[in-house]
Amino acid sequence: MKRSPRQTVEQARREGEERFRRVVDSAPNAMVMVSAAGQIEMVNTQAERVFGYSRTELLGQAVEMLVPERFRPRHPTLRDAFYGDPRARPMGAGRDLYALRKDGSEFPVEIGLNPIETEDGIMVLSAIVDITERKRLEEERQRAEKRVQDIQSELLHVSRLSTMGQMASTLAHELNQPLTAVTNYLRGLRRLLQSGRIDPTRAVEVIDKAVEQAARAGQVIRRLREFVAKGESDRRVENLNQVVEEAVGLAMVGSRQQGVRISVDLDTRTPPVFIDKVQIQQVVLNLVRNAVEALEESDTREVTVSTRSAPGGRSVDMRVIDTGVGLAPDIAERLFEPFLTTKKTGMGLGLSICREIVEAHGGRISALANEPAGTVFSVTLPAGHEEETGHERQPKDIHCR
C-alpha cells in the first residue's frame, strides 16, 4: 500500500519522537521534561530511580514536587524567567541546588536546562545529576588539603623554633673559641710572669691578643642582639594565651617523665599583643624548661604558667612560677647577663636571649622569689595592634639599640 504524503510525515514525526524517547530513556542522567505550565511531561528510567517515584506518579504533576519545600515558592518565577530567554544553560549558576526524593530526603544536584520545541510549544528538558558523591569527595579533598596546610605550618613553626635553638648552639661554639683563646693567653702569661721569664713588650703583645679575642666574643653577642632585635622578626597581632598554650605544650614533652606537673592559668580577657610568635614562644619555652630544671632537687615539682591582663588592659603579664630551689641573691642581680649560668652544661645565654627578645618587643622581664619556695619569672608585653606598634615602633627598635 502506498502511503499518502500526510501519513508519511506523521509517521516520520512519530518515529522521530520515538527515537527521542529512546535516547532520553537510555541517558545516564535523570531527565525530566517540563511544560511551560510547569507540568511534568516526560521522565526517563533514571529519573524514576533517582527520585524514587514511578513514571505514573510523576507524569502530569507540577515539577515543584521534585523541589525541596523551602525553594518551592520561588521556583515558578525562575521557570518563567527561563522561558523569557530559552537557551541551553545550567540552572542556578553559582547556587547550590537540591532535589527532593519521594521519601522526603534531599540530595545536591547539578541541572542542565535545554529548551525543546514540540508541537505543544516549547518545553524544558532538564538533565539532573546527583552530585552527592562528588561533593563528598570535594569536601574530603578540602579537608585533606587543610590538614596538609596545618601540618606544613606546624612544621615550619617547629623548624623556626629549632633554628633558634640551633643558632644558640652555633653561638655557643663561636663564643667558646674566643673565650678559650682569652683564657689560654692569660694562663700562659701568668705562668711566665710568675717565673719572670717574660719581657714587658712581649707581655703587652699577649695582653693585646687577649683583648682582641674578648672583643671578638663581644661581637658575637652583638650579632645575637641584632638577630633578635630586627632579624627575621615577623610580628602579627596574636592572642598571647594561645601562643603560651602552644609553647607550654612543647615544653611539656618529656616533663612528665621527670615527675613535673605543669599547669596553665590563663586570663581570658587579655588584650591582643603585637609579637613575633616564634620569638615569644622561644621565651616561654626557655622559661618553662629552666623552671623544670630548677625542680630537679625539689620534692614539690610544680610549674605554673599564667597570664593576667594589667589594669586598663594596656599590657599583659605572663608568669612562669616554679617551686624549686630559688635564686641565690648574687645570681638574682645578674640573672639576665650573658654567660651567667648555674648549670653544669650551658653557656648562660638562654635568659639573656629572652631579655633581648622581650625588650625588642617593648616589654620587660624580671625575676622575683616565689613564696614559700622557688622563683617567679614575669614577662610584661604591651597590648598592641599593628597600626599602633608596627610602624611606629620598628624604626625605634632598629636605631635605638
Binding site: 648552639s169 667558646n176 673559641q177 693567653y185 700562659g188 702569661l189 682582641e212 671578638r216 615527675g259
Partner: protein, 206 residues
C-alpha cells in the same frame, strides 16, 4: 728536646691555636702549630715523635678523620682531642679508635696538661689503652647491672637523654647512675671512665 716535650697543635681557629701554643710554651713545651688537618698530614711523615692536640671540629677534614689517616700512614703519634660543647660522643668514638684522651672546651690548664702527660707516657697509640686491665676489670665487677648498662652506653658515646630514653628511665636517674659508676670505677672524668671501661674489655652498646 725529648719527645715528651714536643707538641703539635692542629686547629683551624687561629686565635685558639696561637693562644694554646703560647700557653703550652709558657708551660715549657716545644710547640708547632698547623692550621688544618691536611697541612698536618702532609708534614707528619717528617715529624719527630710528639703529642698531637687535635681539634675535633674543623672545616676541611675533622679531627677524627685526621686520626684515621694518621693510623693508615702508620704514624703512631699519641693524640689528644679537643671537643666543643656537645661533641663528647664524637670524642668517645675517637678514644675507641685509639686517641689517648679528650678535653672539652673550655678546658682548664690542669686538664690539658694532664692529658698531655698521659699521652707522653704512651710510646705508641693503641686501640686498647695499656691501663691496668685487671684492676679495671675488678672495678667493673662492682657495678650493678643497671649501672653497667649505663656505662656500656656512655662508652658508646650516647648522650644522657638518649640513654634515658633507651633504658626507659629519666635523665636524672641516668645522671645519678653515672655518678655512682664514676665513683666505683674511680674515674675523675668521662675520658678516664671511657679509658678504664675499655681497658676492662667492656663493649659499647648503642
Amino acid at each position: 728536646m725529648n719527645a715528651s716535650q714536643r707538641i703539635y697543635i692542629v686547629d683551624d681557629d687561629e686565635a685558639v691555636r696561637d693562644s694554646l701554643g703560647f700557653q703550652l710554651e709558657a708551660a715549657g713545651y716545644d710547640v708547632r702549630t698547623f692550621s688544618s688537618g691536611i697541612d698536618f698530614l702532609n708534614r707528619a711523615p717528617g715529624l719527630p715523635p710528639g703529642c698531637v692536640i687535635l681539634d675535633v671540629r674543623m672545616p676541611d677534614i675533622d679531627g677524627l678523620e685526621v686520626q684515621i689517616r694518621l693510623a693508615e700512614m702508620k704514624q703512631s703519634l699519641p693524640i689528644v682531642l679537643i671537643t666543643g660543647h656537645g661533641e663528647v660522643p664524637l670524642a668517645v668514638r675517637a678514644m675507641r679508635a685509639g686517641a689517648v684522651d679528650f678535653v672539652e672546651k673550655p678546658f682548664s690548664e690542669e686538664a690539658i696538661l694532664e692529658s698531655i702527660r698521659l699521652a707522653a707516657n704512651r710510646s705508641v697509640t693503641l686501640a686498647i689503652p695499656d691501663e691496668h686491665a685487671e684492676a679495671a676489670a675488678s672495678r667493673l665487677k662492682l657495678l650493678s647491672s643497671r649501672e653497667r648498662e649505663v656505662l656500656e652506653r656512655l662508652v658508646a658515646g650516647l648522650p644522657n637523654k638518649t640513654i634515658a630514653c633507651g633504658l626507659g628511665i629519666s635523665p636524672r636517674t641516668v645522671e645519678s647512675h653515672r655518678a655512682r659508676v664514676m665513683d666505683k670505677m674511680q674515674a675523675r672524668s668521662l675520658s678516664e671512665l671511657v679509658r678504664r671501661a675499655m681497658a676492662a674489655g667492656l663493649r659499647p652498646k648503642f
